[in-house]
């Protein structure tokens, strides 16, 4: 394992021999973080940070705190680079949405990026599929879901880490 890699171990239940395994990894210089899913166990290992994850918001809070501590100095330039990428990605998704007939902007920017806070339908669906009168002659990408020639949105499942990792054990590697 290359130097500097942070190892996050997500567990639903403790594994036999985990302590010796973690101690060995720690001696080799790996940075370790344990994410404990659920309330079944509360074992702490010396020198290794551990966080309890009960809800998806706990995972989000731990990740955001780790990012803040990890790259405090690089955070704003990194956000600027991501903003640049999102700018041209917006145009790309808009063009692809026009060609395919799928509202890819809604899927990517709302369902994917803001997955944790949005669970409802889009505004065009909630008002019966009719666009707002102010948007009828707008050049902004606007999709009438009742139009016969419009293809239906592909069914994507929102990513729910709390549900996905409830009874599973995963090994996440990231820097």
């Amino acid at each position: 394992m290359p130097w500097g890699v942070t190892l996050a171990i997500v567990l639903s239940e403790p594994i036999e021999g985990l302590g010796s395994f973690l101690t060995e990894l720690k001696k080799k210089g790996n940075k370790l973080v344990i994410l404990r899913i659920g309330n079944k166990w509360d074992i702490r290992y010396p020198g290794i940070r551990s966080h309890r994850i009960s809800t998806p918001h706990d995972l989000l809070r731990v990740v955001l705190r780790g990012i803040m501590n990890w790259r405090r100095r690089e955070l704003i330039p990194l956000a600027a680079i991501i903003g640049m990428e999102l700018s041209w990605l917006y145009v790309l998704l808009s063009i692809a949405g026009r060609i395919s007939g799928w509202n890819l902007l809604h899927f990517f920017f709302i369902r994917f990026i803001f997955w944790h806070s949005v669970s409802g339908a889009s505004s065009t669906v909630s008002n019966g599929g009719k666009a707002h009168p102010a948007l009828e002659h707008s050049t902004l990408p606007c999709y009438d879901t009742t139009a016969a020639e419009t293809r239906p949105l592909p069914k994507f499942r929102a990513y729910r880490p709390g549900l996905a990792l409830r009874h599973t054990e995963a090994l996440l590697l990231y820097r």
Partner: protein, 79 residues
């Protein structure tokens, strides 16, 4: 996974400039494609402004960081 490529790179002045150059080529190409469509898009100006604003924001904070000052990247002293 989203953001994996960026997370593997060290964010410095060279990366910011390369991302700006790459994004500029992409965004100009996409604007050309948009102009060829039947219905013109109204978001090109805000997207272009936000793209340049993000580039200047990253440039400003990277020029303030001590890493770049120590590496000597960017402007050179003459004389």
């Amino acid at each position: 996974m989203a953001g994996t490529r960026l997370s593997r790179n060290k964010v410095d002045f060279a990366l910011s400039v390369s991302e700006f150059q790459f994004g500029l080529i992409i965004i100009l190409t996409l604007f050309f494609v948009v102009s060829q469509l039947e219905q013109p898009a109204g978001y090109t100006v805000p997207v272009a402004i936000s793209f340049v604003a993000f580039a200047l924001l990253g440039y400003r904070f990277l020029t303030l960081s001590p890493e770049r000052a120590g590496s000597g990247a960017g402007c050179e002293t003459i004389g």
